[in-house]
């Protein structure tokens, strides 16, 4: 038997999905917010060291972030009708892990590390929280900054295709921390207003928190994960390649993996953070690779940028686009920077078969995912 390329024809479907972020705690509520233009990004004081106001996407709940992760997984268990997760693999994506807990503990202890517990501070903390409640067969945590959960999704697909698992649960989760809010502020890319991705007058991005939970499996469903592609910019640790070369390569690789031509893509869910550098590079890459001019959108003016969770949350939103056959508008967009990009300013109902979703990260780490609407398989 040739072990190379073994089983790569196994099809991978989204069996169940759930999301929680600043605009709501279900995929339906979040998708409706994108259609209505209800942004979860609000102005907050107390996150920035200089006490100025920042616009961030905080989950409105009195419950802990950990309990929201658990609830999100319970929703999947209920929806999928699985007895438990004892034969399921857990693939996690997070960029900060337990950083928020560690910051608070460090401040509480007067600047001492003595009570910093690695299992609660580290990237592994999300897995630690989940495995205390649920019995998964195995798990791995991916941490590639803002592509963390996208890389977790890629690995989930590879595990299923290899025949190692029938089901993989992907959890993308990042909570708000002083580190990320102050860090993006130090880089000069944090906006004090709701972000306006792809707008000529955009002022930056909004740090946000969120949880995206996706059960991938071989069980046929309405949504199929047909393509994954990644690349490295090999250019700069924070800035993307100015012509979006890395972004283009990731999208090309995803198309190749799905065996699709660019003109088959009906909608592009852009990474679209609202920073000058990201939107310009991504816009150029899309413009060059997709001459048929498909609708392009960013939902980060609604959800904020949920960092390591955005890949999973936006795959949920992309799947909702396919389920509802509606493309959400670019909320808050007033003046397009790249005139030729098809950036919708009103939500439209359309026939949509394939959606491509991008996520890009520090270090020039790029991931593109493609989902397909499947008819009459369930």
């Amino acid at each position: 038997m040739n072990i190379k390329n073994k089983n790569i024809n196994r099809e991978v479907y989204i069996e169940s999905m759930s999301a929680c972020c600043s605009v709501g705690d279900s995929s339906e509520v979040i998708f409706e917010a994108t259609l209505l233009g209800n942004s979860g990004v609000k102005k907050h004081q107390g996150f920035l060291n200089d006490e100025t106001v920042s616009a961030i996407g905080k989950i409105r709940s009195s419950r802990s972030f950990d309990s929201l992760i658990i609830e999100s997984i319970e929703n999947i268990l209920y929806d999928s009708k699985l007895k438990d997760f004892s034969t399921t693999f857990l693939s996690i994506g997070t960029s900060v892990g337990g950083m928020a807990w560690a910051e608070n503990q460090f401040i509480k202890d007067g600047g001492s590390y003595k009570n910093i517990k690695l299992e609660k501070q580290s990237i592994h903390s999300i897995a630690h929280t989940i495995k205390k409640k649920f019995n998964f067969k195995d798990s791995i945590t991916f941490s590639t900054a803002c592509t963390s959960s996208s890389n977790a999704i890629i690995f989930a697909k590879e595990l299923i295709e290899a025949g190692a698992y029938e089901r993989v649960l992907v959890v993308g989760a990042d909570s708000i921390s002083y580190t990320t809010v102050n860090g993006f502020n130090a880089l000069g890319v944090l906006s004090s207003e709701i972000a306006t991705p792809f707008d000529a007058n955009r002022t930056g991005m909004n740090v946000a928190e969120g949880i995206g939970t996706i059960l991938l499996s071989t069980t046929p469903s309405e949504i199929k994960l047909v393509g994954v592609g990644c690349s490295s910019d090999a250019y700069n640790i924070t800035n993307p390649h100015p012509h979006g070369e890395g972004a283009k390569l990731a999208m090309k690789n995803a198309l190749k993996s799905a065996n699709l031509n660019p003109n088959q893509i009906d909608y592009i869910n852009a990474h679209g953070t609202g920073t000058i550098a990201n939107d310009s590079a991504e816009g150029k890459a899309i413009e060059e690779l997709f001459p048929h001019n498909p609708p392009v959108g960013s939902t980060k003016s609604i959800t904020g940028h949920t960092l390591g969770a955005c890949g999973a949350i936006e795959l949920v939103i992309s799947s909702m686009v396919l389920k509802k056959q509606i493309i959400p508008k670019n909320f808050n967009l007033k003046t397009k920077e790249i005139d030729s990009l098809n950036l919708l300013q009103k939500s439209i109902k359309n026939e949509i078969k394939f959606v491509l979703s991008n996520a890009f990260a520090f270090g020039g780490n790029n991931v593109s995912l493609i989902v397909q609407k499947v008819y009459n398989e369930r």
Binding site: K4, N49, I107, L118, I140, F155, S231, S232, A234, N365
Partner: protein, 218 residues
């Protein structure tokens, strides 16, 4: 219960480095001739670049693992937050877990896939499992596992009391159908962080074999 998938990886080359406080002789000037880039590198990045060079890395896909990540940058940030001072943008951009692998891809102008895993004391095993599944595509992969956590105050969190605060292992691998001659036994090493144990075990066993092949259970 379904049996675990077994994937055999041929160890084409391997390298290891460790130091109580700081690994020296990392050939930084030779490996990173551009001074501006060299000055921005984190300790983890310098170790990763050195190990990659030692195993003959060129443009392979990279699977990187680190349990604690960029500790020095993280400490600088947390102390800035505590003291309400401005954060260093360099500390923030260098604070993510994929920093060493990203610098390696920039230095080598490698546009291939780079991914990073972090599972505390199981990190090394996660690098191996991730690498084994990805290796099914048939290309060579660079598996890297680095932890560098030397900072003032480390004794408060170094509960395992490991003596080597910087260490790293690299394995250049490809999938094979040949029979394995290395089984992972989870051999402990009190000097090195547990996050590196399995890959260190493979490195040590590889040195004794002509054609080392490890069996990875997924």
């Amino acid at each position: 219960m379904k049996d675990n998938l077994k994937i055999n990886l041929k160890i084409i080359s391997s390298a290891f480095i460790s130091a109580e406080s700081k690994c020296d002789a990392l050939d930084e000037k030779k490996l990173v001739p551009k001074m501006m880039l060299r000055r921005r590198l984190t300790r983890g990045a310098k170790i990763a670049i050195y190990l990659a060079s030692e195993v003959g890395y060129t443009h392979e896909r990279i699977i990187f693992g680190s349990a604690y990540g960029e500790v020095k940058a993280t400490v600088d940030i947390v102390e800035s937050i505590y003291n309400k001072t401005l954060l260093s943008p360099t500390a923030f951009q260098n604070s993510v877990h994929n920093t060493p692998a990203s610098y390696l891809s920039i230095l080598s102008e490698n546009q291939a896939e780079v991914t990073t895993v972090s599972d505390l004391f199981d990190t090394s095993l996660s690098v191996l499992k991730t690498g084994a599944v990805k290796a099914l595509r048939g290309d060579r992969l660079l598996l890297l596992n680095v932890d560098a956590f030397s900072f003032e105050g480390v004794e408060d969190i170094n509960n395992c009391r490991v003596s080597k605060l910087e260490s790293g292992v690299a394995l250049l691998v490809e999938v094979t159908e040949e029979k394995s001659n290395i089984m992972i036994e989870n051999i402990k090493n009190s000097e090195i962080s547990p996050s590196l144990w399995q890959m260190l075990e493979i490195y040590n066993k590889s040195k004794e074999l002509e054609n080392p092949i490890v069996e990875v259970l997924i």
